[in-house]
Symmetry: C2
Amino acid sequence: MGIDPRLLERRLDELYAIGAEPGGGAYRPLYGAAWATAVERVERWLKDAGLKTRRDAVGNLWGRAEGTDNGKSIVTGSHIDTVRHGGRLDGALGIVAGLTAVEALLKEKGKPRRTLEVVAICEEEGSRFATNFWGSRAIIGAIDAPEAEMAEAMRERGLDPARIATAARDDIDTFVELHIEQGAVLESSGGTLAVVSAIVGTVHLELAVTGRSDHAGTTPMDLRLDALAGAAAMVQAVESIAKSLGRPAVATVGKLEVEPDQINVVPGRVVFTVDLRHPDLAGRRALEERVRSLCDTISQERGVRLSIRTLQEKPPVAMHPDVRALLARAAKECGLQTAEMVSGAGHDAQILAARCKVGMLFVPSIGGRSHCPEESTSPKHLELGTQVLVKALELMAY
Amino acid sequence: MGIDPRLLERRLDELYAIGAEPGGGAYRPLYGAAWATAVERVERWLKDAGLKTRRDAVGNLWGRAEGTDNGKSIVTGSHIDTVRHGGRLDGALGIVAGLTAVEALLKEKGKPRRTLEVVAICEEEGSRFATNFWGSRAIIGAIDAPEAEMAEAMRERGLDPARIATAARDDIDTFVELHIEQGAVLESSGGTLAVVSAIVGTVHLELAVTGRSDHAGTTPMDLRLDALAGAAAMVQAVESIAKSLGRPAVATVGKLEVEPDQINVVPGRVVFTVDLRHPDLAGRRALEERVRSLCDTISQERGVRLSIRTLQEKPPVAMHPDVRALLARAAKECGLQTAEMVSGAGHDAQILAARCKVGMLFVPSIGGRSHCPEESTSPKHLELGTQVLVKALELMAY
């Protein structure tokens, strides 16, 4: 049973054109105009595919093909929002592939035994407010009242913030999502498709190094307490620790701010962030422990003050073993080898795992590029990924 | 012959109160309201001291005591502008001490043989526009037409930009300036007063490191081209090179900017500055050569691209040997030992050296603090520094 790869590509193009930015890429921030247009477009496609649509209280869009038995639903989909200058596939692929797969199944195999649903999740990226996983958190009933500005944005789209709790679902059996890898692991290993074993745990730390701001000309090197020189040693240490632990540990200093940030003044204070990820909790804790300890040693050696604040801490989430096995089987029935891999990025599946079985499929990202206009996957890989998704849904729902 | 130390302190207090900022310190940007008030205040003091005042075409304020012979002038003074949150002494001391010294000389010894002048130089700090040494550059006739915004600021103070060339002087014999050290060398060596031997040469470089921006979760450490990790290694290298060369070499990374500066994105580009100083040209060139070469090696090792731009290059300037000897003699006659030291900061003397003999005296800065509200020198040191200035002016002008 096949899907039409041209239809897949055309739909991806159509979605990518919504919110196109002058500097390249698309931007569809939560509850914005481009976001609303994209949701409408997907709703039309869902209806055309014979699905019954509805929008929940936070704006997640659901398309439903009722099954013959009364069990819980099999759901596929992804998020419809994008980062700034976002690419063509992040989120969009999971929605378009999901609806194209369900459309093909309904057409060829008719009414399913299990209810099949396609979901366009309203937000995952923190695309407009600092609310990552807003859509999936609503589905598991884990959202409190939004901030005033966000509540206003909801009302502008006809959504009532007081009704958020009604978005919660307890009737989902399994959620599967096709996504781009967003890294270069698959490509560099020559793989076609990966079954995700787990989504990494992430810790975000903020390190503040306080030294003493001095005149760059009048202060001999041996009398300085240079906060930036200290921070630079720590940046080096963070990289070395992750490198020495080896894959899959990663550690990144992404933000760094210098005070007073003047060409002729020795920096008195530097604040930087560290993003630490590891798929198992012990590994992630070891990574964090080493970073804290080595940065502490550096600060003591240099006589600068170090304070560390945890901004965020997310545990690793394993994908459900049944779904992992099913996805591998589906791939095999399509004649494809799969490897398992860890997702270094966060996905809605890690939230939904609290209420249902979850699983994910990755297709390769060319050059590992993502969250940018260069984000791309070969048409062949997109087609194969969607075909495996069709097969997996068929195995579960028919 | 003595000066009144209370008068010295009171005048410094009065000047410091002009342009006082809510966050501490004073700010008297060129041609601003506080600047204008300060110039008026100094003009009144000069007149009260019996000096004939005039303002030149860029707003430098001159107070003149005509000598009995017709030779060139002996000038003392400093700049009247300040950095943001500037301290009580930088610039202000040289003006207040200069006028207090000349006032005392005129009172006790009458009309000088050589013409004595006190100058409040309009700008040295780049306090408002990027025009460091604006006042002294006008005095040596080295200014072209100002930018439109600056020309407008001049007109607001009644100054005609078309007349700038008339500020040039070729009748100055010697310029001497009393200044705070702005570093901790004198304090840490227990000295009271230093004669400046030279003002360091400065090079400002801008280094741009280009790697590749990647997802912090999905990109294994071994597949990254992290611009910040590369820049951090260079920041470390810059510090190590200056430390290994030892005093008086200094090297500072003061500004550093990360792109895209997001917590979960591997930095794709980092731009930072390097400030390199050394009192002799060969030393400064060696410093720059090593920095360029080691940063280049680091960029090659890491596969990131490095481009280096020279933003500014100022040669070291030696103080005139006659003036150095005279200042040492004046100190000795006051019963003080002096050491010679290099100035790590820039001063108007380095510009004026192109047209006249120059020399400088430093008093200690407590804790080496400067360009901040904590900038301070003990009253005893301020008094002794001013007394030596009186003696030096007496030796030259009477």
